[in-house]
Symmetry: C2
C-alpha cells in the first residue's frame, strides 16, 4: 500500500513564496514597496495605537511657542528580552528620560528600526506592542517611524532609534552647568538594577533572587519636583551608561564644581551589590534606566525629596552628597571610615550593549 | 652578531593598550566613559562645527508657536562611500527632504550612530565631516547625538539615524491626501541616479560613464515653490526607496485619486536607462536622494516649474502627468505608442541597502 502524501505545513514554506505568509523579516520589508506598507499597517500602527491616516514622511505637532527639547538614542541591548522589560520599553523610557533631564515634558517620539533579515515577526511584534504600551503609559505618541532591513549577519536581530521632542515649561532652566556649590545631590532610588538584570540573563547567572530592570519613565516625577521647587532644581541627569559616576563627573566638569558623595548613603540593594562583587563590577558605574540624579538648592532639597517619594518611581529617593567649591571637576567619595577617595569614570566599557 | 631588535610601530599596537591611540573603534567608545567623551569632543563636535558647551542629553531649540514637523530615518547604505557622496550627506539630506515634503523648513537634526567594533576612526571621521558640511550647506544644525558600539559582526560597519525637526510656515498645508483631480504632477529632475550610482560601485560594473548620486537638500527649492504658488502646491514627495512609482502610488491611495503618468516625459538619463536595462531594474522604481515630486493645481504649475528650475537642484524639472478622478488608488502610464498600462509597486526590494 502506498504511503499517504505528507502534508506540508504552510508555516514551513520558505522564500521565494509565499512571501506574505512569512513569519520572518525578509529584505523586502525594508524596500519601500508593498511589503513595507503591510508591515507598517499590520504590525507597527496597531502596536503604536495610531490611526493609519495619510502616509507622511514627517509628523506634524502643534507646539506652543517656547523652548523645544530634542534628543535621540539608539538601543542595541542584548538580550532583547530581560527581567523587567525589553528593548521596546527601554527605547521609549530612555528617550523620555533624556527629555526629562532638561525639565521638558515629552510631546512625541519617533521610532527607527534596523532589522536583521530572518528576525521573527513575532519578536518584532512583541517589541512594538511593548513600545506602544510604554508610550501610552507615559502619555506620549510615537508619531513617525522608519524601517530598514539588512541581510542576515549585517546586524544583530533588532536595533531601535528613538528621537524625542518635548516642551520646556516657561520659567524652567535646568542644565548641567547650573549646579553650584552648596547644592544637595539627590538620587531617586536604588542603583544598579538595570545593568545587573541584563548581565544575569546574558551570563546565565542565578543570583538567588531575580533582579529586574528599573526601566520607567520619569517625566511625571520631574514635573512633581519642579512643582515643589521650581528654579531651585539646578541640574538633572539620568544615570544610564556609566552609571552614577559618569553622571556626577559630567556635572562636575560642566559646572566646574567639586562633588562629594556620601558613599554610605547611596542606595544599592543587597542583590545588586552581591551580583556586582561576583562579576567584578562597580555598582556606581552600572547602568540604570529609571533613576534620576538631581542637584538642588539646599533650601528646597527636602521638598524635592518629598516630591520624588510621592511617586512610585521615586519611593526610595535619598540624599547622597553635596556640591563643593573645592577641587572643581573632581568627584570624591566619603567612605564609611571617614576617609575620602577620588572617584573616576571608567575609561571604556564595563558592560557592553546594556541599552 | 646578534640581530638588532625589531622596532614595533605604535600603530600596530593592539588592545588592551594603548586604547587611546587606537585607529579603530573599540567597544569602550560606546561605554559612556572617558573614551566616549573623547570621541564626542575630538571627532563629532569638530566635524559638526559645534562649540562643545555643556554636555546635555537633549538640545534646546527656540521654536515660534505653530506646527512643528518631526521625522526620522535610519541609513544603512552599502558601500558607505559612492560616487557623489557617502552615508553622511545622505543621512543629512534625506532627513531634510522628508521635512521639506511637509513644506517645513528644517530647524535641527539629531545624529545617532551604531558602530561596529573595529571600524576605522578615519572612516567615521570622514563621514562625520561630510555630515557637518552637508548640514552647514543646508543651514541646519546637528544639535544632539548618541553613539553605540556593538561587537565585531554585530553590525555592518556603520549605521546612522537622523531625526529632524522643522517648522511649517503659517498658511502652508501640504499633505499626500490633498492631491486632487486636475493637479499637474511635476518632478524636479532626472530620475534613478542614486540607485544606479550605488549599484555600479557595489557590483563593480563600469557603465562607461560614472553615474553620481543626486544626494542634495531640497528645502530651499521647496521654499521657492511655495513662494511662487502658496496653497496651490497640494502634495510633495521625495521618491527615495521604491522610486517614483512608490511615491505616486502612495499619493494615489492617500488622496483616493487616479494618476496618469506620461512615460515619455519622465526624465531618465541615458546612462541610467542603459544601466537599468543591464541590471534588470525599472528606473521608475530606483531610489533618488535629491528629487521631489510635486502635485500642483494646474493654475500654478507653470509658476512652480519655473521656481524649481530657478534652483540648480531643480534645473531639469519637468511635467510628467496628471491626477484624474477615474480609477482611484491606481496609477497608469501612457506609453509613447498611445497605449496605457497599469503601474504597480514592487512587492519587496529591488535594491537592498540603497539608503
Amino acid at each position: 500500500m502506498p504511503e499517504p502524501p505528507v502534508a506540508i505545513d504552510p508555516a514551513d514554506w520558505v522564500c521565494p513564496l509565499p512571501l506574505r505568509e512569512t513569519k520572518r523579516i525578509v529584505l523586502g520589508h525594508g524596500g519601500g514597496g508593498v511589503l513595507s506598507e503591510e508591515l507598517i499597517e499590520n504590525l507597527f500602527l496597531p502596536a503604536f495605537g495610531g490611526a493609519s491616516g495619510p502616509a507622511r514622511d514627517s509628523a506634524l505637532l502643534d507646539v506652543e511657542g517656547g523652548r523645544v527639547a530634542l534628543t535621540t538614542d539608539s538601543y542595541v541591548v542584548q538580550p532583547l528580552f530581560f527581567p523587567g522589560g525589553n528593548i521596546g520599553d527601554l527605547a521609549v523610557n530612555g528617550t523620555i528620560n533624556d527629555l526629562a533631564c532638561s525639565g521638558a515634558q515629552p510631546v512625541a517620539l519617533t521610532a527607527g528600526f534596523i532589522l536583521e533579515e530572518g528576525l521573527e515577526l513575532e519578536v518584532l511584534g512583541t517589541v512594538a506592542e511593548t513600545m506602544g504600551k510604554a508610550a501610552a503609559n507615559a502619555g506620549v505618541g510615537i508619531v513617525t517611524g522608519d524601517t530598514k532591513v539588512v541581510a542576515k549577519g549585517g546586524a544583530d536581530q533588532l536595533f531601535i532609534n528613538t528621537a524625542g521632542v518635548g516642551v520646556v515649561p516657561a520659567g524652567v532652566h535646568i542644565g548641567p552647568e547650573r549646579a553650584r556649590p552648596g547644592d544637595h545631590i539627590l538620587v531617586s532610588g536604588n542603583l544598579g538594577e538595570h545593568g545587573v538584570a541584563i548581565m544575569s540573563v546574558r551570563e546565565g547567572i542565578d543570583f538567588g533572587t531575580v533582579v529586574t530592570s528599573d526601566s520607567a519613565p520619569l517625566h511625571r516625577m520631574v514635573a512633581a519636583m519642579l512643582d515643589a521647587a521650581g528654579a531651585a532644581v539646578h541640574a538633572l541627569r539620568d544615570p544610564t551608561r556609566g552609571g552614577l559616576v559618569a553622571s556626577v563627573v559630567e556635572i562636575a566638569r560642566a559646572a566646574t564644581v567639586g562633588i562629594e558623595l556620601d558613599i554610605a548613603k547611596i542606595p544599592v540593594p543587597e542583590t545588586v551589590s552581591s551580583a556586582c562583587s561576583f562579576l567584578g563590577l562597580d555598582p556606581l558605574q552600572v547602568a540604570n534606566e529609571g533613576k534620576m540624579v538631581a542637584f538642588v538648592d539646599p533650601s528646597h532639597s527636602e521638598a524635592v525629596l518629598e516630591a520624588m517619594r510621592s511617586r512610585p518611581e521615586g519611593a526610595d529617593a535619598a540624599f547622597i552628597g553635596r556640591v563643593v567649591a573645592e577641587h572643581p571637576g573632581m568627584v570624591v567619595g566619603k567612605t564609611p571610615f571617614g576617609t575620602t577617595q577620588v572617584i573616576e569614570r571608567q575609561l571604556g566599557e564595563q558592560l557592553p550593549r546594556i541599552c
